[in-house]
Symmetry: C2
Subunit: 165 residues, 2 copies
């Protein structure tokens, strides 16, 4: 990391290298979503439901506003998804304790079950790729992805990482 001095060290920044990276992102993202998509098929849910379940599982009690920021969609769009999850008993929405305008979101047992199934499938997929590429490659992978994020999302990502562990 750090500065690049010059000469051949810059070969990884050629247009051709960048184009290959772009295509790799495109094809890999399909593989990335394939496993959970396969589970969701047949259920009445889609990727949007998966994403909501993921982050509610990740930060139990998260309020709607925060979830909107993370997902980067409008409240109308999220609401459609959230409503079905609540109606179907996968998500519980509790009135905030300190600020009663807020709704805090939690997974029910049923919701946690589905989230686990989706998570497990996606992690299996990811684990296979990681194991194949090895720890050094994974470190590089994470560095490049982090550099690709928009600043706001990088901050969000970091904050989730901090909450983790």
């Amino acid at each position: 990391m750090g500065d690049i001095s010059g000469g051949d060290a810059l070969l990884f920044l050629t247009d051709e290298q960048l184009r290959q990276g772009i295509e790799a992102m495109f094809f890999a993202y399909r593989g990335f979503t394939a496993a959970p998509d396969a589970i969701l098929e047949g259920l009445d849910y889609g990727r949007a439901h998966h994403r909501a379940l993921h982050f509610i599982a990740r930060v139990p009690g998260m309020n709607v506003k925060r979830l909107l920021e993370i997902l980067g969609v409008t409240k109308q769009s999220l609401n459609r998804v959230l409503r079905t999850l609540i109606e179907d008993g996968l998500v519980e929405s509790r009135v905030g304790t300190s600020d009663k305008r807020e709704r805090h979101l939690f997974l029910t047992e049923t919701g946690a079950d589905l989230e686990s199934r989706l998570s497990d499938a996606q992690r299996r997929q990811m684990r296979a790729a990681y194991r194949h590429a090895g720890p050094d490659a994974v470190a590089g992978f994470r560095q490049v992805l982090e550099a690709m994020m928009e600043p706001g999302m990088r901050a969000t990502y970091a904050s989730l990482r901090a909450t983790g562990a």
Copy 2:
């Protein structure tokens, strides 16, 4: 690369590490598409048009079947996109020479212009991330992405890479 022996070397495969990688992919993909999306906004085209333009630029004269395989959508879905691009004079469709059932796709000058603008924007974004992360990280990034692809797409990706350079 190669086999992992054991012990601490496997720490990069913990559920928490995998979860972070999953979230990194999610957030990074938004950054990845942001630059071309910004250009497309206002034009009458969307991401689907961008993808078609990209691969037609990449392999001039590609036929429809091949493009369908690469994009992974139905012919009806692609056709809607392709039709507008042809009508608007961005793409030219020529009857195949050896097999006259096939249509071979080419960018017109106008099409190549838009494709360049989109490509340049996305490469700029990618270049910044690459430069920030450095060549070793980029190598790892590419390895993990390739391992994440579904086998069919990995073959397609490799064949495009071979055509490249």
